[in-house]
């Protein structure tokens, strides 16, 4: 079977090509096949990265291509890292990051724990819970702006119904103290199913025999939960936390669609701030340095993520 397919491939090779590759070593042929992918990777990933690092040391502005570009050393980096506005942006990102992760892990784990129990309609509920994750962030952002409408929004109506507050007296997107929570709620709604799926994988990987042994030793359900379930699901939870952490650090589309970074700059996350520096203020050199800082941070987090992933694989 294998021989025949090789023979077929050999027959299909045009004589000119066949003549050219004759005499090449296996290694050279392998390189020949891999070269286009490597070239594409270099052109699409590595070259822009190196170019961005180079630009981060200059005062280049992309809207003034003919202006003289001069080397400014570490000035862009120093300006960013001493700018209190950038610091505030980082704090807004931290608020978003911490609360989304806390809520997603708690709710996601609770849902996974429930779904892991066998009950009627289990599969249907899993599908319903997973639905938000499958939607586009642009769509989610758009319909949540309707839900958050003070006059007609369902969210405001529900809050008003439960607390007795007049729905039109507060605006989740327009009020400074509420806007950071508005984006946390939407991201939690959208990405909790993802954490739930990872936790569910962790829960289903625990052999039933461990629980049976614990039952024999008369361990209570509470003790089983803390000494068996939590330690064995922990690597999966860590994975979910790191994954969501990296994703939310780069969060852009959902927040732009929901609040556009406002009111003021209350919900202006780092990626939104970076986009404004690059494509509204046209400070390309400065924005490149900003991008390098974010890249190093995400790369560092990704390194820890890969390490955690390997630990899970070893289990």
């Amino acid at each position: 079977m294998l021989d025949s397919s090789i023979e077929r491939a050999a027959r299909a090779t045009p004589p000119v090509v066949a003549k050219r590759i004759q005499g090449l070593s296996d290694r050279a042929i392998a390189w020949l096949f891999v070269a286009p992918s490597i070239f594409l990777l270099l052109a699409v990933n590595i070259f822009p990265l190196i170019w961005t690092i180079r630009l981060s040391f200059t005062n280049f502005r992309v809207n003034r291509p003919n202006a003289e570009v001069s080397f400014v050393g570490l000035k862009n980096y120093i300006n960013i890292l001493t700018d209190s506005d950038v610091w505030l942006t980082m704090q807004a990102t931290a608020h978003f990051l911490i609360w989304t992760i806390v809520l997603q892990v708690l709710i996601g784990f609770a849902l996974a724990y429930l779904i892991n129990k066998k009950f009627r309609g289990n599969d249907m509920w899993t599908t319903i819970i997973v639905l938000p994750m499958m939607l586009s962030p642009a769509v989610v952002g758009n319909f949540w702006t309707f839900l958050y409408q003070p006059q007609i929004g369902l969210f405001n109506y529900a809050v008003g119904f439960l607390t007795g507050t007049d729905p039109s007296t507060f605006s989740m997107i327009g009020d400074v103290p509420l806007a950071p929570w508005a984006i946390v709620i939407v991201d939690t709604w959208m990405w909790t199913p993802f954490v739930m799926l990872i936790c569910l994988a962790g829960l289903r990987s625990i052999p039933g025999s461990i629980y049976e042994a614990a039952e024999c030793d008369r361990a209570s359900k509470w003790r089983q939960f803390w000494t068996i379930t939590i330690p064995l699901v922990l690597p999966f939870l860590m994975l979910a936390i790191l994954f969501r952490g990296i994703e939310n650090f780069k969060m852009f589309d959902l927040v732009v669609q929901l609040t556009g970074g406002g009111p003021g700059s209350t919900t202006e996350l780092t990626s939104i701030n970076l986009k404004r520096e690059a494509f509204e203020k046209w400070r390309t050199g400065y924005a490149s340095a900003y991008a390098v800082i974010l890249f190093v941070t995400v790369f560092g987090l990704a390194s820890i993520y890969v390490k955690a992933l390997n630990k899970v694989k070893q289990r």
Partner: protein, 62 residues
Amino acid sequence: MTEFIRGLRELRRGAWEMVASVLIALGVFMLMQPFMLSMFSYSFIVTLVGTVMFIIVSHFPE
């Protein structure tokens, strides 16, 4: 603890990766904390050192 220090002395991957991970986590914390601007200013260099260290030590023997 003794094993960890021995790992550092003998240039073992596990121990050094732990140091690099702590540096990265510390750098990210410094970047996002709301307490001191000076900590924010030094956050990038700490993260960079941690990340570069992680790349190097991941080639150390297990």
